[in-house]
């Protein structure tokens, strides 16, 4: 038995004095090596041009396990025939004499061959039978050719299966040499020093394989998208709000926004309340009084909600349900410091006491933008939303009337989903997240917007001709669409796949 090196040497030596090896399998047999092993050597030599190898391919037949058994023991029909004594035998007795499978296959076959009859004892109808099937199986084993009809019959009985036989015919290649030296894979310092690099044969590089993974760290995909949104806001002249306060009082989260105390969003089903620190006791008291009045009795042209407003409700601490809680603090501060026009934005976490599923988490990131100025119009809101969303690659928007306790008018922002020729992933994938909008060419909601109600702004002390236009959307949803993630827990939280963090593209929203 030779090893691969020995086989290689023998093969190259053979070609030195012979023009061709017509069948590598026969050559391997003569050499006493496994053909698989020789095939590896052939491929390698062919790759370097030492030899020219051509595929020789033939379909041959191979016995199945069942076929193999019959080739030894005879076909079941003959076994059955042989088991029937001259005087006949009851079917039950015959069955007892034989294997179950031999009997069931063989009996049926022998009957249909009209070798046997039942009257009612099973008895021979012909004197002698020949085991053709066994002979055919033996022939196949010996590599003899059978007629197409015979092959077909055996194939149907699942006694033979096709086997692709593959070998090579070999001639000298362009780079033929009686021996070869091992090719180099790397240029080494030694080659440079000794200047041997020009004499060394280099192994061809396999461009089909992947290169070596890079080292180094990776940024989280959700935060890459956050970076993009921050850039868009900054480019549009927006100033970031300080949102690093997850614990908030109901007052700033709800009451200041003119959200009535019985509003369903203030239910324990929707909002996380805190056991510790359970309440806030310091408020700007004069402002709190104005908020109480606007809820209870109205004012500034409003009739209010006409209910008993309770300070205890406003004191209850919550995990903020929206970053608008920060906006309300910022606008209040702006009114105290003296109004100047502002564009504000924030992207940070908000919390909802909701059941966690593929699209909902107890915490997620809210993107919020607002402009505070005198004389802002709905047309301005529509205009700024078009500017903002077109930077994300969404050129055409449509607006639907909606309801929100602290904005009036309130507009849901919709964009059209086009078929796959769109330029960004957002265009093509946005439909995945909304079951009703499975079809493309649909209008899909991408955010909410509106003008803050005067009942929110005027008690803060802002001048009465100041309006605030604002909009919001979640960070997770566009990120999931961009990176083709359909379960939010795969993106945000500890169940993230580290492979996902290591292998996701740069965020090219709108590029």
């Amino acid at each position: 038995m030779r090893d691969a090196d020995g086989a290689e040497r023998a093969l190259l030596a053979f070609l030195e004095s012979n023009a061709e090896i017509s069948n590598s399998e026969a050559f391997a047999r003569d050499l006493g090596v496994d053909h698989e092993l020789l095939a590896g050597t052939i491929k390698s030599l062919h790759g370097f041009g030492f030899i020219e190898a051509k595929d020789v391919r033939r379909e041959s037949w191979e016995l199945t396990e069942e076929g193999l058994v019959y080739s030894r023991n005879g076909s079941p029909e003959v076994q059955v025939f042989d088991a029937v004594p001259a005087g006949g035998i009851s079917r039950e007795d015959l069955q007892r004499k034989l294997d179950d499978s031999v009997f069931s296959i063989g009996f049926r076959k022998a009957m249909s061959n009209k070798w046997l009859e039942t009257k009612p004892l099973v008895s021979r109808k012909v004197l002698k039978v020949e085991d053709v099937v066994k002979q055919q199986l033996l022939d196949i084993k010996d590599g003899k050719n059978l007629s197409a009809a015979d092959i077909d019959a055996l194939k149907k009985r699942k006694l033979i299966v096709p086997k692709v036989w593959k070998a090579y015919s070999i001639t000298k290649g362009a780079n033929y040499a009686p021996t070869r030296t091992k090719a180099a894979t790397e240029v080494t310092r030694e080659m440079l020093l000794k200047e041997t690099w020009s004499e060394v044969a280099f192994k061809p590089y396999n461009f089909q394989a992947l290169g070596q993974p890079t080292e180094g760290g990776h940024l989280h995909p959700l935060l890459k998208v956050r970076t993009k949104f921050r850039q868009i806001f900054l480019e549009m002249g927006f100033e970031e709000m300080p949102t690093n306060n997850f614990v908030e009082s109901s007052f700033w989260n709800f009451d200041a926004l003119f959200q009535p105390q019985q509003h369903p969003a203030r239910d324990s089903h929707d909002t996380f309340f805190l056991k510790s620190p359970c309440k806030t006791q310091t408020f700007p008291e004069d402002y709190l009084e104005r908020v109480k009045t606007i809820h209870e009795q109205g004012g500034f042209g409003s009739i209010g909600y006409m209910y008993d407003w309770k300070r205890e409700e406003a004191e209850k601490n919550v995990l903020r349900t929206h970053t608008t809680a920060v906006s309300s603090r910022m606008l209040y501060k702006l009114a105290q410091d003296g109004f100047v026009p502002k564009r504000y934005f924030s992207i940070d976490r908000v919390f909802r006491n909701e059941a966690v599923d593929r699209t909902h988490l107890a915490e997620f990131h809210q993107i919020e933008g607002l402009i505070c100025d005198k004389g802002l119009t709905l047309g301005d809101l529509i205009g700024v939303l078009n500017d903002f969303f077109s930077r994300l690659g969404m050129k055409k928007l449509r607006f639907k009337p909606a309801y929100n306790p602290y904005t009036e008018p309130s507009m849901e922002i919709f964009r059209q989903v086009y078929p796959l020729y769109g330029s960004s992933a957002l265009l093509t994938l946005i439909s995945c997240c909304n079951s009703y909008h499975e079809q493309l060419n649909k209008w899909v909601e991408v955010g909410n917007s509106g003008m803050f109600r005067p009942e929110m702004l005027l008690p803060m002390g802002l001048p009465d001709d100041v309006s605030v236009i604002a909009w919001g959307l979640s960070l997770e949803r566009p990120t999931m669409i961009l990176y083709g993630i359909d379960n939010i827990r795969d993106l945000f939280g500890h169940k993230v796949d580290l492979k996902l963090i290591k292998s996701n593209p740069i965020c090219r929203l709108g590029m």
Binding site: L319, L378, D380, P401
Partner: protein
Amino acid sequence: MPTVSVARELLHTMLGRVYTQEEFDELCFVIGIELDDVTTEKAIIRKEKHLQENEADEDEEVIYKIEVPANRYDLLCPEGICRQLRIFLRVEKMPTYRLSRLPDSSILKMIVKPETAVIRPFVVCAILRGITFDQARYASFIDLQDRLHQNICRKRTLVAIGTHDLDTLQGPFTYEALPPSEIKFIPLKQAQEFTAKELMEFYKSDLKLKKFLHIIEDSPVFPVIYDSNRTVLSLPPIINGAHSAISLNTKNVLIECTATDLTKAKIVLNTMVAMFSGYCDEKFEVEPVDVVDPVGRVTRYPDLSLRTMDVDLSYIKKSVGVPLQAGEIVDLLSKMQLTSKEIDGDKIQVSIPPTRSDILHPCDVMEDVAVAYGFNNIPKTRPKTSTEGRQQPLNEFSDLLRLELAMAGFSEVLNWVLVSKKENFTLLNRKDDDKIAAIVSNPRSSDFEVLRTSLLPGILKVMEHSKDVPRPVKVFEISDVVLLDPSKDVGAANSRHLAALYCSTTSGFEIIHGLLDRIMNVLNVPVDGYTVGPSNEPELFKGRQAKIFYKGSCVGSFGIIHPQVLKNFDIPDPCSYIEMEIERFL
């Protein structure tokens, strides 16, 4: 948002033409309602019974499920949706709801007893005379009560509606509050008499009613309404009496709404009568009831009067951003059920019908003008507001550090602020001393009990889920933790932390130590500007941990994670870890 089912056939009949689904979708979009689903009655039943879809018949009546805004209670039934659409499309004029003219003496009375003040102080009533029900109207009448109960009534806590066949009763009525054992009647859908006390026990197993029991359960007295023969009309907010139950054949309906919030009770009553007075012999006419309060003051309900609101035309034009004429504005408002007229001084006077309780301020009128004009017809403009972009220094600083950590070979993770108490304390060998962590009072699951006080539990959970990731694993997070802080108005404050973990077959303490040096290097803190000293943190391994001191105070620590902690998080390989506050380097 609430959803209302409307038969497609009915819609087409009411709107006077057949709409394709796309056309109807578009109409909904413009007016701010949403065609949420298209189904059939039988499909809904099949879904409830979990039956196969393939049993559908061709000729099933198609039902549109329509989502309506949460503040438009007048759109909570097919009658209201059709009326709004018809008025919007100018098929119908705004109806005028009115009270029937009766001599004071013939007006039925509801006398309120003082005891009700402690449990459910308010009641308002109205009568629909000569109403004609059919199957669909009757079903809608019941559905509207359910939807109102779910929405504005806040699951009957604020308001509960009772409807009665007036012909089975004898006024005047009394609204009382009595000890439960003294109230005895046959409730709706039952054959035998119960005391209110027994009923509370009985309904504990009733899937629909058990969730309302808590509203009165603990009160020594229960609210109850009687007629002059001491027949019980209802035990609000739980159940009506069987005696006065309405049916398809009922001609005269008494509606009573008991409440803890009078404003909402009035809105609910107005909604009920406005929606169904259209089926009365005298269309849109409602018979009033006098409610006599405990001090003898009489108030007549329902109050169907129009509210008026004067609105500046310039305010509307300036806010919408379209130079509309007064006439155009009046015309647009009429599509939204608001009648208005131009008055002196560049104003219009808007009359608000009892169905539009959502109109609180001129901004609500302005919105209706914008909706009727069409949001998508408003020309876009650019705000002239001139400002400059600016980042929060802490966020800008964090982002720079995030880049440095990634360049140092660590990959970023992002974990939840909410964790379980066990993860934040016990599994880290720590005890909750009630002095550092903010605690949630109503978490849906124990996963969200407490706000993390360090980034460690999240990062260890990442490692727990990354057993198959080839070692070494290097991860980091820069995010906020929350700590109790009495100096803040809310009693807690965020603190921005930096954390990084190295995990391999060996602990790699020196790698994390090297990372600390690198962090200090990029923070421009010289080697002699910080020191490390011995520490004894329970989550870290003894003798292989240290505190980090900067300008005399401790800013964090680093070390090998304690083997017990690794075991607690089911992490098979050793880990080294660093966590530090970063705000003081800002």
